[in-house]
Amino acid sequence: MITFALRRLLATIPTLLVVTLLVFGLVRLLPGDPARLMLGESANPQAIAELRTQMGLDRPIMVQYAAWLADVVRLDLGRSLVDNASVSRIIGQKLPTTIELSLLSMLVALVLAVPAGTIGAVKRGKPIDSAVTVFALAGISLPNFFLGILLIFFFSVQLRWVPASGYVGLLEDPLRNLSLMALPAITIGVGLGAILTRYLRASLIETLSQDYVRTALAKGVPGLAVITRHALRNAMIPVITAFGLQLGTLLGGAIITEQIFSIPGFGRLLVDAVSTRDLPVIQGVVLIAALAVFLVSFVVDLLYAAADPRITYS
């Protein structure tokens, strides 16, 4: 198990190197000059050239890459071109917010998906199953930005139950934090929950047709116990994979949702950095996001073993 874990971690290093190269290269391919954007449309060419020199953007691209990589290895992600703040520090400030949003969204997704998927599978073909399928389809089809604005319209502008948007730290004021995070978490959670519902329903239907389920039922084990104790646990394995793979979706959803609800997280940081061409910040955010996806898929692999004792790593 430990050797497996170590081997997996070592194997990510070359992949991460490729990621750094891609991130750096793609960001440089973006049209638009950070110095010009910073100085505004009417800036004179000389001031732009000076600012480029000051930002180090006039050096050959490979030199810039090498310098950046050398810093990254030393865990230094550089400084923002816009306000000279340390990129690691900015990301450190924003990351907890997005992690909280992601966890809450996952919670919403699970609260929706586990009962819905189970009911859909058990009552397969019944009207309630059709209702579950319709919910899942609607949840997948409804874009984040639309759902978010609908939620704001109903719950903030019409009913005035929760603030339209904004952010207060969880430790500063937990209640207000949760009331502000509720709508964004639902916005992301509904889509994610819909995807998981479909996975769980399909997987559970298959599991329920297995011999051991029939045996358990024949032995007189109550139906609910069969589902929760035997079937659901096995049915969860493909769902865990799906969950892990959805991290990308989750981060993508966070970018849009944070924008709508003015949450100062990772996604908002990325969008602002792209519009000002704050290259070090874009690079830092994408690198950390890639790292997060690696880490989660690694954890998911380890979770398999926990969920299914038949899987062992050596």
């Binding site: 973006l30 049209p31 638009g32 910073m38 449309e41 001031a47 600012l51 603030p163 100062p264």
Partner: protein
């Protein structure tokens, strides 16, 4: 029982007073940089004008009024400006503000690498301290626009002690002498200023200003209407009706210095042909533009100088709106069915579609291409576009208002102007010290550009904000930046 009620009432009043003293402002973006030498965005000025005093300010009629400079004298040749600096002013860090601070700031504006202020102050030859509170600024050549420049970020005086200590980080720890003091900031979340109780012009009545960025216009309005913020700057035209209709909220629209116009690339077909441009000018229905796209919150404009700015010419005439004549002109030029691409920024979609519709009627085939600011600037600066819709924030003086757009060396020469007639007029206007003659020269340039339809203007922009009705005394200064010092909360 009565006592308890009274206590409850007192607590309620205290809470209400506490709430009333904070004003929350929703902006369309997170202000990028609060250092006056690097600040460029409109959203920056919403903040920097509270933190820093400037040498002079503008009033609602665009008259230049004293701020840190209590008075000024200009030598007869227009080259030497002698400024008396206000006494007894201290920066937020306790450093006293004197003539030396002014010299330091102007020098910083002129010499720091990448300073965005250098162009605006390029006419300065020398700044000398001639007394503890007297500064003498010598210009290379007369510049009638000079004082107006000092009313903006170029005239924002920074604390030399703080600026030296912070270096490149000054934008994150700004120190000025203004009515509000920088308190704290978390990017993309909030930016908080607190009242400066020692302000030379009296402590502001508002105790705290909290700026919050809402890039999405719908979200900005939702926050205003749900009580999340007290004012949003700006409000999109499509949201005017809903805010106006809501109880307890007002829409304030007032003249700005800016305009929106179609800038055509004169260096290549189809717009190198004056007849094709004339067809465009005849096709534009400005009244419909104002009504359809801007819900009548703006006014039609035919030239570069709006009525509230110097250079305005009441006798200026543009080709009259006549869709049939437009089509006939295009046909006569043998250009019916001419295709071109209209380049726009993402927030100009509705505006772009309007132009597309009217020009299609006139016989053009118009493709709209949307681009965000980064690539957009690359394209227009390299003249790779056919035509683009431009929104210009405007300047008080006719020189910075127009020179950059139409002089062959202008920084915003996106039309590809290279016309000796225009260059000559603009250069003589720059050197002219007699204000009447000078204004006449700008009118001549404007007439030339409008007669030959080199740029087709559409509307004068307005500053439009949505506010809670309990904010009182917001000064309506055409540069669009709210000065919060005198505003009160009812």
């Amino acid at each position: 029982m009565i006592r308890r009620t009274l206590i409850a009432l007192a607590i309620g009043l205290l809470l209400a007073a506490g709430m009333a003293q904070t004003v929350r402002i929703g902006l369309h973006q997170d202000p990028p940089n609060l250092d006056p030498i690097l600040s460029q965005a409109f959203s920056d000025r919403s903040v920097t004008y509270q933190i820093y005093d400037r040498l002079v300010d503008l009033d609602e009629n665009l008259t230049i009024v004293p701020m840190l400079a209590t008075s000024w004298e200009v030598s007869d040749d227009g080259l030497v400006y002698t400024l008396q600096i206000r006494e007894g002013v201290t920066f937020h860090d306790g450093t006293p503000l004197d003539a030396e601070s002014v010299r330091y700031t102007l020098d910083r504006n002129l010499t720091r690498e990448g300073s965005a202020r250098r162009d605006e102050l390029s006419s300065i030859e020398n700044v000398a301290v001639t007394g503890p509170h007297t500064v003498e600024i010598t210009l290379r050549s007369p510049n009638a626009a000079f004082l107006a420049v000092l009313s903006g970020n170029a005239g924002a005086i920074v604390s030399p002690t703080a600026a030296e200590a912070a270096g490149a980080d000054f934008g994150n720890a700004p120190v000025g002498s203004g009515p509000f003091i920088f308190d704290s900031r978390e990017r993309q979340n909030h930016l908080t200023l607190r009242a400066n109780d020692d302000y030379w012009n009296g402590a502001p009545s508002i105790r705290q200003l909290v700026y919050r960025p809402f890039p999405d216009a719908d979200v900005r309005v939702a926050n205003l209407l749900s009580g999340g913020v007290d004012i949003i700057i700006p409000i999109e035209p499509k949201d005017i009706a809903s805010v106006d209709a809501a109880d307890g909220y007002d829409v304030i629209a007032y003249d700005s210095l800016g305009w929106r116009a179609l800038v055509m690339n004169l260096t290549r077909p189809p717009f190198d042909d004056p007849q094709v441009r004339l067809a465009v000018a005849q096709a534009i229905d400005r009244a419909a533009l104002a009504a359809v796209v801007y819900d009548n919150a703006v006014v039609p404009l035919i030239g570069p100088f709006p009525p509230n700015t110097p250079g305005y010419d009441p006798d200026l005439e543009a080709p009259a709106y006549d869709p049939e004549a437009a089509r006939a002109t295009l046909e006569a030029a043998g250009a019916l069915g001419t295709e071109f691409t209209l380049l726009i920024l993402p927030h100009e979609v509705l505006h772009g579609q309007f132009w597309q519709a009217i020009l299609t009627q006139a016989g053009f085939v118009v493709q709209i291409e949307q681009m965000e600011a980064g690539p957009y600037l690359e394209v227009v600066n390299n003249m790779r576009h056919d035509a683009t819709l431009v929104g210009w924030s405007g300047r008080i003086d006719p020189d910075p208002q127009f020179f950059p757009w139409v002089h062959s060396t202008g920084n915003l020469n996106w039309g590809g102007f290279d016309d000796p007639r225009i260059d000559d007029l603009l250069e003589s206007a720059r050197a002219e010290t007699d204000p009447v003659t000078r204004e006449g020269l700008y009118r001549d340039v404007a007439r030339l550009v409008v007669e030959e339809s080199m740029i087709v203007w559409g509307i004068q922009s307005q500053n439009i904000v949505g506010v809670a009705s309990n904010l009182e005394g917001i000064p309506l200064i055409p540069d669009g930046t709210v000065r919060w010092h005198g505003v009160t909360v009812r």
